[in-house]
Structure formats: C-alpha cells, structure tokens
Amino acid sequence: MITAVIPSLISTVRTDDTWITFDVNSLAENFWNSTFDGLTFGAIYALVALGYTLVYGVLNLINFAHSEVFIVGCYGVFFTLSALNFGPSAPRLAFWAIVGNLVLALVVAIVASALMAVIVERVAYKPLRKRKAPRLAFLITAIGVSFAIQYTIYWWRGPSPEAALTMFRPTPIFDVFGTIIDSQQLVIIVAAVILMIATDQFIRRSRTGRGIRAVAQDPDTATLMGVNKEKIIITTFIIGGILAGAAALFYVMKIPSGVQYSGGFILGVKAFAAAVLGGIGNVRGALLGGLLIGLIGNYGQVLLGSSQWTDVVAFLVLVLVLIVRPEGILGSSLGKSKA
C-alpha cells in the first residue's frame, strides 16, 4: 500500500538537496529493521509518556520536570553499573552475574527516579497547590524545576556525556521476515510491554488505581467520598517515577552513551508528544502514542534519508493528527472509567 501512495508524492517533493531524499526503496529494504528499532524506542517513549499522562490526569499539569526524573534514573543506572565495573567494552561476566547486576541497576534507577519525582512534587508543586496558585504558575514552576535539575547535573557532572556502558553485546535471537531481532530489542520490548500492561491493569483494577481515576475525574467529590487526595497525588508521581526509572535502564541499554545532563530533554519532549498523540490523561493512549512516535520517526528518517528527520517527521505527524483529532487518537479520558 505504501508503495502505491508514495510514488505519486515523489514528484511534489524537491530532492535536489542531498540532505533530503525520498527513498522508497530504502524504506522497503529497511522496513522490518526500522519497525523493530522503532518499537524499541517507542516502548521507551511509552514508559516515560505514562508519567506525563498520569500526572496530567490527576493534576491537570504538564510535569515538564518528568524528563529530569528520567535522566536521574539514567544516572542511577550509570553509577550502579560503573561501580560494578561495567564500561564501554562488553562485560566478560557469567550470565547470572549480568542478570544480577542489571536487576540491581534497575532497582537503583527506579528508586532514584521515584525519589526525584517525590522531591519534585513536594518542593515544586505542593506549596503551590496549598496556596491555590493559578495554573500558569504550575507550568512555569515545572519548566523552572526542569532547568534547575538539569543544570545541577551540569554543574556536578560537566557538559560531556558520561562514558558509555555496554550491558551486554546484543546477539541475534530469531528471524522475522528476514530481519534479525536481537536480544537487546527483545528485552526492551518485552519488558516494557509487561510494565505497560501492569500499569494499565493497576489503574483499572486496583483500589489505588480507582482512587487515581476518581481524583482525575473530580478531585473534590473524590475527597468527599473518602479518597485521600494528597496520597493519591504522591502515589501517581511515584508510579511515574518507577516507570521512568525502568525506561532509564532500557534507554542506557539501547544507547550506552546517552547519559548526559541534557539527555532527557529531547526524549522527554518526544514522550510528552507521545502522550498528547495518544490522548493526554489516557493510559492506553500514552502506550499507543509512544509506540507510534517511535515507529513514525524511524520510518521517516529512513524514507527521507537522514537521521535528522526523525524528530521532524514525528512532530509533523503529531501536528497532523491533532488537527484532525485535537483530543489525541484515543481521547483524554483517564477520569472516565473507559480508560
């Protein structure tokens, strides 16, 4: 189908600039590769996007500091694995030793991110809520906190990326449509999907999840019905932090040299875009949006012939979707129980 639509578009696209090509063959050749890589990234975006969406659901607030919650998790992974003598070279360790080390790194990252999320909530948002500050104040504070954390890391660790950490050398696992899926992609996609389903079920089924949905729907009534709003808010931030911490491990696994003070920024923006694309406030929307942003960006860069188009294409599609469906693909409905 793609091959039928696109040739007609080719004539309308100027291709004399070598920085943009319109290479359908390349897309066809690399289609499955791009798909699996796109899903890998999409899974990471989705995990981070959940953090944006949950907080938006209960507080109607875009927590711009969430990208820093994520990068703090990355530093957690970095310090843990560095202390365990991981480095740019692939480790020469027994299987269970690597598993153990990575689980430890995952735990540290989750704790670091969750802690950061709680600190952000307590320091930046709670005092404002107490004083009934206008919405705009929250937004500015969110941006301010984001920069404050980013430049604290800059001041502490400097502008250069941290040394790369190779957790394991990806190896081919099985073959799909002539494309090899490697262990790294498999680990990330499978683990992320399990986390997403767990989160979704937690929000839909558990008592706390019901509390979260109740607060999202109508905070005042929820309070009257006996829901502890403050507790629900802090729980929401913690869940977002946990997912960001897990995303951090997968991100460093995928991009060993990605730990840098500003490393969360673009990823955060894309995860936020993913949340909006799927419908902000909607858990399943965040999952769908994340995977789509990952896929579309990857297809775009292969089609247009250069990596610099990844973000452009992803955001262009976001804009187009929002023109047609301003609420996002699945609509924003964390509060309504159809989520």
Partner: protein, 409 residues
C-alpha cells in the same frame, strides 16, 4: 493486594528481560565471530618519522626582546563534546611558549586561552573578545572547520593573523581571507588519500560512507565519496549530538558493506562504532582526524579494535624530543595535532623574536614564512594553503592508536 501484583509484575518483567539478556550473552561470542572477519588486513605500525634537520624551534637564539604584554592566544575547544582535540593543541602551544620563554629572558610571551566548545554558534563571542584585546598579536586556532568559517571575517576585519592547526575544510581558504593560514593538508588532500587507503591498503570492496552535519564532515564526506568511485555502496548522514545510529546501521548491514568511513568527530564516531559492532558488523571502521583520539577508544571500548584512521597530522609521539617534553606538561602522550599546534605557535614566536611585534608585522611575517618546522616545511601560498602536505594512516592496536605510515601516495 494490587500493589503487590504490580510489584510482582515489575519483577516478572525484569526477570524475563534478564533471561533474554542472559541467553543472548551466552550465545554471543560464537555468532559474532563466525560471520566473516575474512578481509582483515594487517598493516604493521611504524616506529619513526623523519624530522627536518634544520627545523625552527621555539627557543630561537635566546636573545629576543619584546614588551611584557606581547600575547599569543589560542581559540578553540577546551570543554564540550570534542574537547580533547582542542586540549591536544593548546598543550602543544603551551610547550612551545614555555620553551621560548625559558630560553629568552628578555621576551616573555603571554599565552591566553579562549574556549569555543568547538561550536560555531559559540565561537564568535570569544573571537570578538580576542580581536579587541590589543596585546594579542597572533592566534593559533580555530581547530574545527565550522567555527573557523564562522569567525574568519572577524579576524580579517582586525587584521589578526591566525594559523589553524587542524581545520581541514577545503572551502576555508576560498573566502578571500588574508589572515587565515592552515598548518596542515586540507580535506581535498585527505579525502582522496583516504579513498586510496580504503581501496588499496584495506582492500575494501564495499565502502559505506557516513558523514555528520558539520562543515568538516560535509566537506570531507564529499571529497572522499568522489574519490571512492565504484567502491562506494551507499552513504548516509548523521547529526551532531546524535546518540542512536540504529537506522544508519540497518542500512549499512543491508548494503553488506565491508568497510565504513565516518567523516565527523569522535563524539558521534565512538557511539556509532560501538553500536555498529554491537549489531554484528565485522568489517573495518575508518575515521578521519576528527575521530583519531584516545577518547574514541575510551568511549567505544573494545568495539574500537576494528578501527583505522586517516589524518593529515604527523605522529608527534614518534619525535622523541617533542614527545618527552610534551609529556612533562600534559601528563599524556602527544595527541592528534599536538605537534601542529606546537609548530604553528613556533611560527608566530619566531616572528616575535625577529621584532615583528605588531599585528601587521606578524601577519606579513607569516605570509612570507619559508622554513621547516618539526612536522613539515611551512610555506603558504596566497590563499593560506601549504604546498604538498602528507596524510598519515593510523590503526588501533591493543587499545592504542599507532601510526602506520604515509597513505595515499
């Protein structure tokens, strides 16, 4: 209860993930080593280079006199993602100035460093500051092509001579600037030399060329792909600061390339090579001068053992006198362009010693310069290019970069 479920779900996710990791890890070595590393070519390292016997050295005759305010500046990266390339250079300059000042009590030349982070957007500030400081009579820099292009006009307006020890974009000398001098071969020399090195010495049949979006990467990429001809099976572009190279790598694997040439800097080159090897690429990775630094090995880890470099730089570590003295001040072996920085500073210092202590005098001194330095003969044409500079090949051997001799001839 549900919280418990969540926790167990997360644990299950982690465990499953780790399981897959582990399986993969065990089956690792056999698969990655079995797929053809057949075309690995062994090129022996060289252990000495010829040094011009009458090379001009910074110490001069020891009788020079100059005002105590006389200053030479370095402008270029001291921090930033590619900082090490700049650090190599200013340590070379520092060594030249130390040797000069030690030998010439009557002429203590000051040395000032200005940080550009290697970023064209940030370079104009420090350079504007340099040209406004009257005491600065000559500059060594700027190291990178993009920032050189962005700041050449500022130097030109104030008539301040600057010698770049490492910017290689051929277009830089075509701007009509009279204050810009290049102390090495440009990429119109390096590109063809690299192409010849790839196809002759490395016996590459299918080269995949990847360039970044800097002036340097674009210029070198263009020169190299033209010279590669039929051996080029594909090319792609990456951007400064890029961290994920999976799309490029997928194209490389699909093209069944046996060699990758990366025209760019080590900040992107190192993760690129690492991810390339991680995806099972078994051919050679060849980078230019912007990649040739120990930082590349440090950041890419054991993946870097497949790497070669091309560089219009002379292996300063093989010039014993220079290497020992350099180690004393830098606590490290001379790096890429250390000796070019040293030589460029020497050209300026020898002019100051001869009484050329204003900007105009020093500019005409460099313009008419015709003498040997430690690394090569320095005589510039009217555009600021040297006559026929050499390009060297290097390789990674046991985690170190070692020279393998002049290439492209």
């Amino acid at each position: 209860m549900y919280r418990k479920k969540l926790v167990s779900a997360i644990a299950a996710a982690a465990a499953l993930g780790m399981l897959a990791t582990g399986c993969a890890n065990q089956s690792g070595p056999s698969t990655s080593e079995s797929s053809g590393a057949g075309n690995k070519v062994d090129i022996p390292a060289i252990s000495k280079v010829d040094v011009p016997s009458g090379a001009v050295l910074p110490k001069g005759d020891g009788k020079a006199t100059c005002p105590a305010t006389t200053t030479i500046a370095y402008a270029g990266a001291q921090t930033g993602p590619n900082a090490q390339l700049g650090i190599n250079i200013f340590n070379g300059i520092q060594l030249a100035i130390n040797q000069h000042n030690e030998a010439n009590p009557g002429c203590q030349v000051q040395f000032k460093k200005f940080d550009t982070e290697g970023d064209p957007n940030k370079a104009t500030g420090p350079v504007t500051q340099i040209v406004s400081e009257e005491d600065i009579v000559g500059v060594v820099g700027l190291p990178f092509s993009g920032e050189s292009k962005a700041t050449g006009n500022i130097f030109e307006q104030k008539g301040l001579v600057h010698i770049t020890p490492s910017a290689t974009n051929p277009g830089l000398t075509k701007n009509g600037w009279t204050t810009f001098y290049r102390a090495l071969g440009n990429d119109a020399v390096q590109g063809p030399a690299a192409a010849k090195f790839l196809t002759d010495k490395l016996q590459a049949k299918k080269v995949y060329l990847v360039q970044d979006d800097s002036d340097y990467g674009i210029g070198l990429g263009t020169q190299t792909s033209e010279a590669l001809g039929d051996a080029l099976v594909g090319s792609d572009k990456v951007v400064t600061g890029q961290k994920d190279f999976s799309a490029v790598i997928s194209k490389i694997m699909n093209a069944k390339a046996d060699t990758v040439y990366y025209a760019g800097y080590y900040a992107e080159g190192a993760p690129f090579d690492q991810q390339l090897v991680g995806k099972g690429f078994t051919g050679s990775f060849v980078g230019p001068d912007g990649v040739k630094d120990d930082q590349f090995i440090k950041q890419a880890g054991d993946a870097s053992s497949n790497s070669f470099f091309t560089c219009p730089c002379i292996p300063g570590e093989l010039i014993p006198d220079f290497a020992t003295e350099y180690k004393k001040i830098a606590n490290a072996e001379p790096g890429t362009y250390s000796i070019e920085g040293y030589d460029a500073a020497t050209v300026l210092l020898s002019g100051i010693d001869k009484g050329k202590q204003t900007r105009a005098d020093l500019l005409s001194w460099v313009k008419a310069y015709d003498a040997d330095g430690l690394s090569k003969h320095y005589k510039w044409d009217s555009t600021g290019e040297l006559a026929t500079p050499d390009v060297y090949g290097y390789k990674v051997e046991n985690g170190k970069i070692v020279p393998i001799g002049v290439i492209g001839k």
